[in-house]
């Protein structure tokens, strides 16, 4: 009996936009398609951090609405400001599928067989099937594997739901409708092992994983709706007319009569669900992406691997991978090295690059930099280098006359790759200003290398739309913002003459500071959509000794804080 793990990525197109533009996390994202008459129709939408104060008034935007209608719904539920915040993008089905295929290759760390999930309507697939037959115990069991997959994806900023079952259809159904399984859990006496946890930044939602024990899908998936079988809408309607709304009711009907009365699709799906017929899996294209493996005859101690010999081995493997790519003038943007050990899951080294490259030495350097920080299993049985994503190499035209010496942007790219490899992806960032009044949210740290091997953001056709609906103002004027911002405002003892007046004296780090000049207040009252509203009066203060500080008075409790220094 095979075991299939399905990873479902809800609203995949929106998640992909967020991967490319993390600064849009606090804004509603609306993906649109333009029809031949120029009408914009919403195909998907999402809001990663919606207003916490209005959980019951979530905007009910459905795919197929016109953009104007969606904006009206958004304004009605979250206020007109939300409309101004909205980030409108053109949908890009091809890009979504390519990104999913890249993610599929990246998921080979969990299982060697990764396939794309079923396509839903015209939107393409948003799930992955992994064959985990006999490999789950490497990760400590099926539930541990599901949790590991969730954690690893969450660490990459991806929100997913995971289910493990006997067949792809059953696993997909369980991943897609886990809330319906919860009701059945009580009936089946806790045979299921569903768990709810909170991971990463998607705190307001619950990450769920489900393991359906072998051979029990008939009992446990009975309460799911018919849509879980991906039946055609008219078949669902016809079945609903005769009172069949759940999978369990459908399974109780005679298969022979179903075959006579409905399309063969219905019985086929039932067979797929129960594992009576083998369901074909769609594997990601790009199977031509090279990989190279070196399997040792006997397990090698990992402490022998570190050093010159290992570097040489890696160079050979990377060279093997690069050879076909170089001929096609493509370069590697993402690479993974798997070190298979004894009795546990493989150790995976991810290398994400800033620009595509075909330099073997550079890639090996990056791998070795990462290796310094990783604890290996005691014995290694095989080393695999696998290319996860490639991109066309930039073509540089030769110049006839030597122009001004341009600094090597390639040198900077190499530097960024090295820094990101050793310090971690999130330690190398490019700041991007965000139009937000709250000082903490006025900029976003965009990691520049290795975003799950997803491609870099490319110019979108929907930019005009975005400009029309998004707002383009930049951060506050220079001089009014400090050079250093404290990660958390520090409470201060402040003497002020009037209860609402400027500070006269304050005490910081055990020293009294007499205020010489003061500018303020600058009232910032915002972020109602992020939780408790921020209500502050900011003052720029210069002390008698010449230091310049940024203080604010919280209007909620009338207490003073230091938020930054003009260092």
């Amino acid at each position: 009996m095979s075991r299939i793990m399905t990873i479902w990525l809800p609203r995949w197109p929106v998640q992909r936009v967020l991967q490319q533009q993390p600064e849009c996390r606090s804004r509603p994202i609306v993906l649109c398609r333009q029809n031949h008459r120029g009408l914009l129709t919403v195909t998907s939408w999402g809001w990663a951090t919606p207003p916490a104060e209005t959980p019951d008034r979530q905007p009910r935007i459905r795919p197929g609405m016109s953009l104007a209608e969606a904006m009206a719904v958004l304004a009605a539920s979250s206020g007109p400001q939300a409309c101004r915040l909205a980030h409108v993008v053109d949908e890009d089905c091809v890009g979504d599928q390519q990104a999913l295929e890249t993610l599929a290759r990246w998921c080979r760390r969990f299982s060697p067989v990764v396939a794309l999930g079923p396509a839903i309507g015209t939107a393409g697939s948003d799930s992955l099937h992994l064959d985990v037959t006999g490999t789950a115990h490497f990760f400590g069991g099926e539930s541990a594997l599901a949790r590991t997959a969730l954690w690893t994806l969450a660490a990459r900023g991806l929100y997913a739901r995971v289910a493990i079952a006997d067949t792809p259809t059953a696993a997909w159904a369980a991943a897609r409708y886990p809330e319906r399984l919860h009701a059945s859990q009580a009936q089946t006496g806790g045979l299921l092992t569903p768990a709810a946890g909170q991971y990463g930044r998607w705190r307001h939602r619950q990450q769920r994983w489900v393991v359906v024990p072998p051979g029990q899908q008939r009992q446990l998936l009975g309460s799911l709706p018919l849509a879980a079988l991906r039946l055609a809408p008219d078949a669902c309607e016809t079945l609903a007319e005769v009172g069949v709304t759940t999978v369990g009711q459908l399974l109780r009907l005679s298969r022979v009569s179903l075959r006579q009365r409905f399309e063969p699709e219905v019985t086929l799906r039932i067979a797929h669900l129960l594992g009576e017929a083998v369901e074909p899996l769609t594997f990601p294209r790009g199977g031509d992406l090279p990989s190279a493996t070196e399997a040792f005859d006997l397990p090698v101690l990992s402490r022998d691997l570190v050093g010159d010999a290992f570097a040489r081995l890696l160079r050979v493997l990377v060279g093997d991978c690069l050879q076909p790519l170089r001929a096609a003038s493509r370069g590697i943007t993402s690479l993974q090295v798997r070190l298979d050990g004894d009795g546990r899951g493989p150790t995976v080294i991810d290398v994400g690059l800033f620009r595509p490259t075909v330099e073997a030495t550079h890639l090996v350097d990056l791998i070795l930099l990462r290796l310094e920080r990783i604890r290996l299993a005691r014995e290694i049985t095989a080393v695999t280098v696998e290319v996860v994503a490639v991109a066309a190499l930039p073509c540089r035209q030769q110049v006839l006359f030597a122009g001004p010496p341009t600094a090597g942007t390639a040198a900077v790219d190499g530097l960024l790759d090295r820094l990101a490899s050793r310090l971690g992806r999130s330690a190398v960032i490019e700041p991007r200003l965000v139009a937000d009044a709250q000082p903490e949210a006025a900029w976003a740290a965009v990691p520049i290398a290795g975003r799950v091997g997803l491609r870099q953001a490319r110019p979108q056709a929907g930019r005009q739309v975005a400009r029309r609906y998004g707002h383009g103002q930049r951060g506050a004027a220079g001089g009014s913002r400090p050079t250093f911002l404290l990660s958390r405002p520090q409470p201060l003892e402040v003497l002020a003459l009037a209860p609402e007046g400027p500070p006269l004296r304050f005490r910081w780090r055990g020293q009294d500071h007499r205020v010489d000049r003061v500018r303020g207040p600058e009232r910032i009252e915002t972020a109602w959509w992020r939780g408790p509203t921020v209500r502050r009066d900011y003052y720029i203060v210069e002390t008698a000794s010449g230091g310049r500080f940024w203080l604010f008075r919280g209007l909620r409790r009338q207490s003073w804080f230091l938020h930054g220094t003009y260092g």
Binding site: P404, P431, W443, I448, G475, G478, G479, R517, Y566
Partner: protein, 337 residues
């Protein structure tokens, strides 16, 4: 004290290893002085600072230390040392005499940097507008650009000051956030080694002499300028930085400086109101390599930084005059070096 006198004073015959090490030292020193004289000098973008620097500007491939005021004043993190370092970094990144497209790297240990204060400077420095003096410096013609800042090449520098086409390059700022001291040292070293970087700004805490020397060699190998903000206690430590500048806050009103973006009509009223746009600091050169303690004369100057675009406010000049002043300083810098 030269090697020869050292050798003559020691009574015991020098062992072979000691002699070797002394010879090596000699060679290192000769290398250092030779490469010092060959390296290019560029304007730091702040005319007052240029005047203060020993060679009339910043030498490419050198380190500059910015000392905060002493801890007993209680304003060490709020005195403006980092603002000056960042301003110089931004000016270097936008410097028309250097190849375009170079990056500014900030090694931000502790995650303290607030980019909304710095990004407008970068944009102002790279955008060609009459308000920003650095943008007035034209891009030299391709054939001559390599020689513009060469020592004594006055003709080339005069050609370079002709009105020409302006560069438009998107400014690149990268912020690196190392989690440990070892990572910070490594990151600064790597950034200093990369020729595509214009300047590296960092605020390392304790730095051993070995590490400092490594940074200096790294900077020299690539021509990157390292701008290190150090606590005041570092003044009594040996340094491999070429220049060490103590930053002390001064009153902006006392200097009477005016900002570049100012029409004469409402100058007086704005002067009073807009003190937040300016930052006046006294810059004191407290000796450079090895002579931090024994330095006798400490040249000082007051520099007023325009916090709206990270340039310097020059006293009693409007925008055009300031640009002219800047051009004059550039020429002076070239001649002096």
């Amino acid at each position: 004290m030269s090697v020869a006198t050292l050798a003559s004073h020691s009574s015991a015959p020098l062992s072979a290893t000691r002699l070797q090490s002394l010879k090596r030292l000699c060679r290192v020193q000769a290398d250092a002085s030779a490469s010092c004289s060959q390296r290019l000098t560029v304007s730091s973008g702040l005319p007052t600072l240029d005047q203060l620097l020993p060679h009339g500007g910043l030498r490419l491939g050198s380190l500059v230390e910015w000392l905060e005021p002493p801890a007993e004043t209680g304003v060490e993190a709020a005195a403006g040392a980092a603002a000056f370092a960042l301003a110089v970094g931004v000016r270097l990144q936008a410097n028309a005499d250097l190849p375009p497209g170079r990056a500014l790297v900030v090694i931000d240990r502790g995650g303290r940097l607030y980019p909304p204060a710095v990004v407008p400077w970068l944009e102002a420095a790279s955008a060609p507008s009459s308000a920003s003096p650095s943008a007035l410096s034209p891009l030299p013609s391709p054939a001559r650009s390599a020689k513009v800042t060469q020592r004594g090449d006055r003709q080339a520098s005069q050609h370079a000051s002709q009105p020409g086409h302006y560069r438009q390059v998107t400014p690149r700022l990268f912020v690196i956030r190392p989690a440990s001291d070892a990572d910070e040292i490594w990151a600064i070293d790597q950034a200093l080694r990369c020729a595509g970087v214009a300047a590296v700004v960092g605020w390392p805490g304790r730095v051993s002499a070995t590490v400092f020397r490594r940074w200096q060699l790294a900077a020299r190998s690539s021509g990157v300028v390292g701008l290190l903000v150090r606590p005041a206690a570092a003044r009594h430590e040996p340094t491999w930085a070429e220049t060490r500048i103590q930053v002390c806050p001064a009153r902006a009103a006392a200097t009477g400086g005016t900002c570049s973006v100012r029409s004469p009509a409402d100058k007086a009223s704005r002067d009073k109101a807009n003190w937040i746009e300016r930052r006046a600091c006294t810059l004191v050169r407290v000796g450079g390599q090895w002579d931090a303690v024994t330095a006798v004369a400490e040249p000082a100057a007051t520099c007023v930084l325009d916090l709206t675009d990270g340039s310097e406010c020059l006293a009693g000049t409007n925008g055009v005059g300031q640009a002219r002043e800047q051009a004059r300083w550039r020429r002076v810098a070239c001649r002096a070096s």
